[in-house]
Amino acid sequence: MQRGAVRRARDLRSGPDTRRRPLPAVSALALSLAAVALVAAACGSSTPAAAKKKANSTTTTTATTVPTITSTTTASAAPGTTTTAAKPVVHTPTPAATTSSTACSSSGGALSTTCDTKSPSLQVNGAGANSIQPFFTRVFYYYNQANHGVSVNYSPAGSSVGVSDIEQGTVNFGDSEIPIPAPATGTSGNILQVPVDLGGVALSYNLPGVNGGLKLDGPTLAGIFLGTIKTWNNPAIAALNPGVNLPSTTIVPVHRADSSGPGYDLDQYLIDTGGSAWTSSKAGTTPSTKWPITTVGVGEQLNTGVAGYIQQTPGAIGYVEYAYALQASFTNAALKNQAGSFVTPSQSSIAAAGAQASGLSASNFNIVNGPGAGTYPLANFSWTLVYQKQSNTTLGVVLGKLLDWVTTTGQQQAAALGYSPLPANVVSLAHQTLLGLENSAGKPLFS
């Protein structure tokens, strides 16, 4: 009797304890779930580098779908080949790799042709422009198919990252939409700048009921991005587009929150054509990769962020690399070019802009607002950056061959993705630049 009372009292006292003790089955389940959680936590947030990479891969994952979407014939343009490099580390090749290629490298080889096509097994690391990523993903995949040994990791973190990474020597090559101003040097000396693709920047908009090809000129575009033109039926836009039924939707201009090559091109175009309203607002006539007007509209990260926002938001207009606009089937504005005609971005109109580039070089790279009636005004070459002196001969030879392939055979892949093949004079500029590659002793790698 008394014992029973005591037990009851004890039960009462320790009530919450027993409540919290789970049944064996439940606790086993809880334990295993907790283990999963632990693993997830460890994978998800172990290193800042991983976290940063994750940030980049927000675009990577979406962007790498480009090849599979646009090409139905070669649907296997494996995204896996170029994506998941962690922030590239300084390359240390295996000794085996160094010896296996001496046949080609020691005697100096011919660039792009005879010298045995079998490259040593190497991993090449690069970082840079986000805009070129769809193109690189595809050409590096095909190069890997042709030369099984060479795989390329490309981290599309942005042009400025490409420049700083090559300057600090943390990657084998960088890529930037804007070449490094002379003198282009880094920790390992002189940097060669090779034009590798020709792309354009689309002004894409989401305006239900209005087709593509809405005509815009410099001052109107400046007004939109400065926030002075607020609705789509503004008289300035209506005057350029007689006969188009413009809705009164509010305009939401979208810019890149990070710095970007497309932003640089549009800034250059608006400096050339946008009038004093633009130059006085941004205070200067030097184009910048960082979008100058940050107090108007919405800022999104990378091409994918801007493209995603345009897709979601009626009334939005923003600038994206044409390859991204093409992939998303956006409606693009027809921009007024230097000759006074309105041109939409397309493979041919961007190619026309590239064809105007006479005397192109890393210091004379600007092809924005070029001459010619069929020329699309927002176009640019993308530049790959490599050190002239390659301390590792094997790697130097592989890089040279890879880039020569990209600028010649690889250009066949450009059109389907929304880029335009390099004009012949630019291909030869690339070839001449690559012939400048040297080994550590200063002897040319190729002849």
Partner: protein, 332 residues
């Protein structure tokens, strides 16, 4: 029997922890203890050194920015690297607003959920639910950010934000066009991120409230709900406060998830629906491309401001709580 046992196992010497020298002397007889002392002290010193080095190096690398901008580092104009103008006021404001939104959303829901789990939910539901909540805490912020961007943003633009505009008092905070990315959306995403922390810590401290307190409340005729409000929540207050402090810390420091949903507009926000920017999002957007020199120094200056702001909010919050508990103690 007992004496032999005592001889075999000498009782542990319970000596107070002193300085390094004393500890070494005390432990000198036993090499293992000595090694442990060295490890223990060097660990403590290393930790302190890392914190000091962090602050010093941040200050050193940002001193150029503070020298250049002076007090105008906190206001005047729009952040523009091309013009060498680096005001942080908008970012500070954005950080405080998004954090406030997150706390306002997450604290009632979090504490309520914790109370439900610890007091009301049957055991078969409470255990798996707690595990699920702990799992949310392990989701990396980039995932939450993507979810906010791809899932929440369209819902907010079409349904939630127009709805908020119709609510009589709240409409004052929610005016202007619903563009999608906004301070409000960023605050909501932050609330989701800090919710598991608040729930887990509050639940633990609520479970730890003494049974006698609940029994006392019940004995006075309290309903189940009144037991929670009069006995459990006050008893667990310290734990709940710690949970909120941790939540504030995470919300203020979050970068990538916020940068994805806030709209990165550097203008002064006029409504919770405006796109904006926080210190964290500005750091992540500007640091990668900041050119060495004043530009980079200014971005590191943002980091210093964030550090100071977090410290201020934490200290301020603690002082507030201490003052409040004193008032409560005096009145009851």
């Amino acid at each position: 029997m007992a004496p032999t046992l005592l001889e075999e196992v000498p009782p542990p010497r319970l000596t107070p922890v002193g300085g390094v020298k004393e500890a070494l002397q005390r432990r000198s007889a036993r090499p293992g203890g000595r090694a442990y002392t060295v490890v223990r002290w060097s660990g403590a010193v290393l930790f302190a050194a890392i914190v000091v080095a962090l602050v010093v190096s941040l200050l050193a690398s940002s001193s150029q920015a503070f020298a250049h901008s002076g007090l105008s580092f906190f206001w005047s104009g729009t952040y523009n690297a091309a013009k060498d103008i680096y005001p942080t006021g908008v970012f500070i404001l954005g950080t405080l607003i998004t954090t406030a939104v997150a706390i306002i959303l997450a604290v009632p829901i979090g504490v309520g959920t914790a109370a439900f789990l610890s007091e009301f939910a049957p055991r078969w539901l409470a255990t798996p639910l707690s595990v699920a909540i702990d799992l949310i805490a392990a989701v990396p912020s980039i995932v939450v950010g993507l979810w906010g961007l791809l899932v929440l943003q369209p819902i907010f633009t079409r349904h939630v934000e127009p709805f908020m505009k119709k609510i009589p008092v709240l409409e004052w905070f929610f005016h202007g066009p619903a563009l999608g990315p906004s301070m409000f959306l960023a605050g909501t995403v932050l609330a989701v991120m800090i919710l598991p922390t608040i729930v887990a810590l509050s639940r633990t401290s609520m479970s730890a409230v003494a049974v006698e307190d609940r029994e006392a409340a019940r004995a006075l005729g309290a309903t189940r709900w009144q037991v929670v409000t009069t006995a459990v929540v006050p008893g667990a207050r310290t734990g709940i406060e710690a949970a909120v402090t941790l939540g504030i810390g995470r919300a203020m420091g979050e970068t990538i998830a916020v940068a994805m949903v806030i709209g990165n507009n550097y203008a002064l926000p006029h409504s919770l629906l405006s796109p904006g920017a926080t210190l964290g999002s500005a750091i992540i957007n500007n640091f990668g491309e900041a050119s060495p020199g004043l530009d980079r120094a200014s971005v590191i200056g943002l980091v210093v401001v964030l550090l100071v702001l977090s410290a201020l909010v934490n200290v301020g919050g603690q002082l507030l709580m201490r003052a409040r508990s004193r008032v409560v103690g005096a009145t009851t």
